[in-house]
Amino acid sequence: MSGLQDVGVPRRNGELAFDAPWQPRAFGMAASLVETRFDRDWEPFRTRLIAAVAADQDRPYWESWAVALEDLLLAHGLLAAEDLQSL
């Protein structure tokens, strides 16, 4: 069982570091799914996030977050590949 503190969300001087309005939306979507679909366990998302960051280390953090979110939805059958292609 992982909590948010295990996810390594970037912080700036102690606060969650968001630079654009879409970033807290992406954060909130992941937090919502963790809450409602993963029994508050951040671990499934965390492993996707680690993979997304590793896959492209130059990619901005929250963009990797968004990729991890899509990967999670796909891997757990919550969305289909066609759904993601239509975005």
């Binding site: 503190q5 912080r11 700036r12 001087n13 102690g14 606060e15 969650l16 654009a20 309005p21 879409w22 807290p24 939306r25 992406a26 954060f27 909130g28 979507m29 937090a31 919502s32 799914l33 809450e35 409602t36 679909r37 929250w62 963009e63 968004a66 979110l69 899509e70 939805l73 919550l78 969305l79 759904d83 975005l87």
Partner: protein
């Protein structure tokens, strides 16, 4: 295209459009209940973090020895309750008294003790708040609905990455019969920043 076109917002980045479309899709599919993302963000802003700070305050109200430890080594005393981590280091708790009202600002940026207070409120980062709280704290506090009597000194604490402040509000009168848990429920985020009194 008009001459002021360069003032218009930039085209949304692809990721911005994609995240918005994803949220719409998740909402349409019922995977994320309507309003839930807003609620989650509010929870992280107002509910989860400040409750930790509120428990610290309530403990200090009921336990004089804890209160003393909290004022002398705030980081360690907060860690006793299980709160802390990188963003909760270098804490200094400042105590409101009958003579002094404390208020916290971060003039350089928006340093904030996240583990005890959660996400900072939007106004905390606003340059006008940061500038005016230093220049005219009494007037600004009054505008925010926090009237500090003229004979009470206002101490403004400027947070930084090296030192983050948490206000220990005065225990409200008439709360002698309340449990520590009930007391914690009285403590608000704004009171711990110092822009409200309990």
């Amino acid at each position: 295209m008009t001459s002021d076109h360069h003032h218009h917002p930039a085209e949304p980045a692809p990721v911005e459009r994609r995240v918005a479309a994803l949220e719409q899709l998740l909402t349409d599919r019922g995977l994320v209940p309507p309003g839930f993302v807003d609620a989650i963000n509010r929870a992280y802003e107002q509910d989860i973090g400040p409750r930790n700070g509120a428990k610290v305050v309530a403990r200090a109200w009921v336990d004089p020895e804890y209160r003393q430890r909290l004022l002398t080594d705030s980081t360690a005393a907060i860690a006793e309750l299980g709160y802390g981590g990188h963003e909760g280091d270098h804490m200094q708790v400042v105590e409101n008294t009958a003579d002094v009202h404390n208020v916290v600002v971060c003039t350089l940026c928006s340093c904030y003790p996240w583990p005890v207070l959660g996400l900072p409120p939007a106004w905390y980062k606003d340059p006008p708040y940061r500038a005016r709280m230093v220049r005219e704290p009494r007037a600004l506090l009054a505008e925010m609905g926090c009237d500090v009597q003229d004979d009470v000194e206002i101490a403004v604490w400027d947070s930084s990455a090296e030192q983050r402040y948490l206000v220990l509000p005065q225990r409200p009168p008439g709360t002698d019969g309340l449990s520590e848990q009930e007391l914690a429920e009285l403590v608000t985020r704004d009171a711990m920043i110092g822009v409200a009194r309990l």
